[in-house]
C-alpha cells in the first residue's frame, strides 16, 4: 500500500507542470495588484475590480509610492500615450473591456520602461551586472505575471515566441551585447503589439 502511495506521489511530482511564470524578483505591489484587478475583471466582477484599484492607490500612497493613475500619467508623459486618460474613463464608465486594455497597456509601458533603462545601461561599463539583472528580471516579471499568465493557455505559441525572445534578451544583458539587445527589444515590442493588438490601447510606442 505504501509502495503504491509512493509511486502515485512520485508520478504526481514528475508530471506536475513546471511553473512557467516563475518570478525572478519580489513582485512590485503595483504589478501584483494589477494582476488582481485583471483576475476580477476576467470573472466579470467589475465593481470589485474598480474598488480594488481604489485600495491600490491608497496602499501605494501610504508606502510613499506612485499610485496606478500617477504611474500611468508619468509613463504617458514619457511615451506620449494616453493610458491615464483611458484608465480614468474606463473607471468612470465601469467599462471592463476598456479597463483591461488600460491595464495591459500600462503593463506594456512598464515593461518598455525597464527595457529602455537597459538600453541606456548596457553601453555603460560602470553599471554592475547585478543592477542590469534586476532591471531585466523586472521587465520579464511584468511580461510573465500579466501577459504570460493571462494568455499562456489561450495563445501558447505566441507567448512561447515572446518568451524565447526574452530568453535571448537575458543572454544579451548578461553578455552586455548592446546591439543584439536593441534588435531583440524591437522584436519583442513588435511581437507584443501585434499579438495583443486587440487587447492593447492604440498608439502605443514600439
Amino acid at each position: 500500500m505504501v509502495k503504491i502511495l509512493m509511486a502515485v506521489f512520485f508520478v504526481g511530482v514528475a508530471t506536475a507542470p513546471v511553473e512557467a511564470h516563475e518570478m525572478r524578483q519580489p513582485i512590485p505591489i503595483l504589478l501584483d495588484r494589477m494582476y488582481g484587478v485583471l483576475l476580477l475583471l476576467e470573472q466579470n466582477k467589475t465593481a470589485e475590480a474598480i474598488y480594488q484599484i481604489g485600495t491600490v492607490e491608497e496602499l501605494l500612497q501610504t508606502k510613499g509610492l506612485l499610485g496606478l493613475t500617477q504611474t500611468a500619467a508619468k509613463l504617458d508623459q514619457a511615451y506620449r500615450t494616453t493610458v491615464a486618460e483611458s484608465l480614468g474613463a474606463a473607471i468612470a464608465a465601469r467599462d471592463a473591456a476598456r479597463l483591461k486594455s488600460a491595464i495591459y497597456s500600462l503593463t506594456y509601458l512598464l515593461m518598455l520602461e525597464k527595457l529602455d533603462q537597459l538600453t541606456a545601461m548596457l553601453p555603460n561599463r560602470d553599471v554592475r551586472p547585478d543592477t542590469r539583472k534586476v532591471v531585466m528580471d523586472l521587465a520579464r516579471d511584468y511580461f510573465s505575471h500579466i501577459f504570460e499568465e493571462t494568455f499562456g493557455r489561450r495563445r501558447p505559441a505566441q507567448v512561447k515566441t515572446m518568451e524565447q525572445i526574452l530568453d535571448r534578451m537575458d543572454g544579451a544583458v548578461r553578455q552586455q551585447a548592446a546591439t543584439q539587445f536593441e534588435q531583440l527589444r524591437r522584436q519583442l515590442s513588435q511581437a507584443v503589439l501585434s499579438h495583443f493588438a486587440a487587447e492593447l490601447l492604440p498608439g502605443l510606442p514600439g
Binding site: Q25, P28, L31, K114, Q117, V127, T131, V134
Partner: protein, 181 residues
C-alpha cells in the same frame, strides 16, 4: 593538562568573551524587536546615496534594489549575532586550553592576548551592516575587511595556528620525556 587539575582561563579573557556574548545578544534583541525599523532606516540611508547603489530613478527598479540593500544589511546583523556567540564560545575553550598547557607564563599570556584580540573580528559584520546602505556592498566589505576581518580575523587564525603548533610540539616533547601531557 589533566582533567583533575583544570585551571580557569584568565579573568580578563573570560570578561572579553562575555562582552562579545552580550553584544551578540543585544544585536539579536534589536533584530527581533526593531526589524522593521532597521529595515526602513537602511532603505532611507541607501536612498540618500543613489550612486552607491546605482539607483535609476525608476520607482519599481529602485524599490527592488533598496529592499535588497536593507535585507543584506539585516543579514549582516544576523551574521554578527551568530559569529559573536560562536567566537565567544570557541575563545573561552581556547583560553581554557591555553591556561592548562605547560607553556611558560609569558607564552600563555601572549597567546591568550592574541586569541582575545580575535574577539573583535565579528564587529566587521556590524561595520558592514552599518556602512552597506551608505557605501554600497563592495566598498562596505572592503572597509570591514580592512578594519576587522584582516587584522583581527587574521590574528585569530594565526593565534589558533600558533597554539596548534606549540601544543603539538609540547605534546611530542612530553611524550619523549615520558611525562604525562
Amino acid at each position: 593538562m589533566s582533567a583533575g587539575a583544570l585551571k580557569a582561563p584568565p579573568g580578563l579573557g573570560v570578561l572579553a568573551c562575555l562582552l562579545l556574548f552580550g553584544f551578540g545578544e543585544l544585536s539579536g534583541a534589536l533584530q527581533g524587536g526593531y526589524r522593521q525599523e532597521i529595515h526602513q532606516y537602511a532603505i532611507a540611508r541607501a536612498q540618500a546615496h543613489p550612486a552607491a547603489h546605482q539607483l535609476t530613478g525608476v520607482e519599481d527598479i529602485d524599490q527592488v534594489i533598496l529592499e535588497r540593500v536593507a535585507d543584506r544589511s539585516l543579514a549582516r546583523v544576523h551574521t554578527f549575532h551568530l559569529h559573536s556567540h560562536g567566537l565567544g564560545l570557541v575563545t573561552i575553550i581556547l583560553l581554557t586550553v591555553l591556561a592548562n598547557t605547560g607553556f611558560s607564563p609569558r607564552t600563555r599570556a601572549a597567546l591568550s592576548l592574541w586569541v582575545s584580540l580575535g574577539l573583535l573580528y565579528p564587529f566587521g559584520w556590524l561595520t558592514l551592516a552599518w556602512t552597506l546602505p551608505s557605501l554600497g556592498e563592495a566598498a562596505a566589505f572592503q572597509l570591514a575587511e580592512r578594519l576587522f576581518f584582516i587584522p583581527f580575523g587574521g590574528a585569530y587564525l594565526l593565534a589558533v595556528g600558533a597554539l596548534i603548533v606549540l601544543y603539538a610540539t609540547d605534546l611530542i616533547k612530553q611524550r619523549r620525556e615520558g611525562t604525562p601531557p
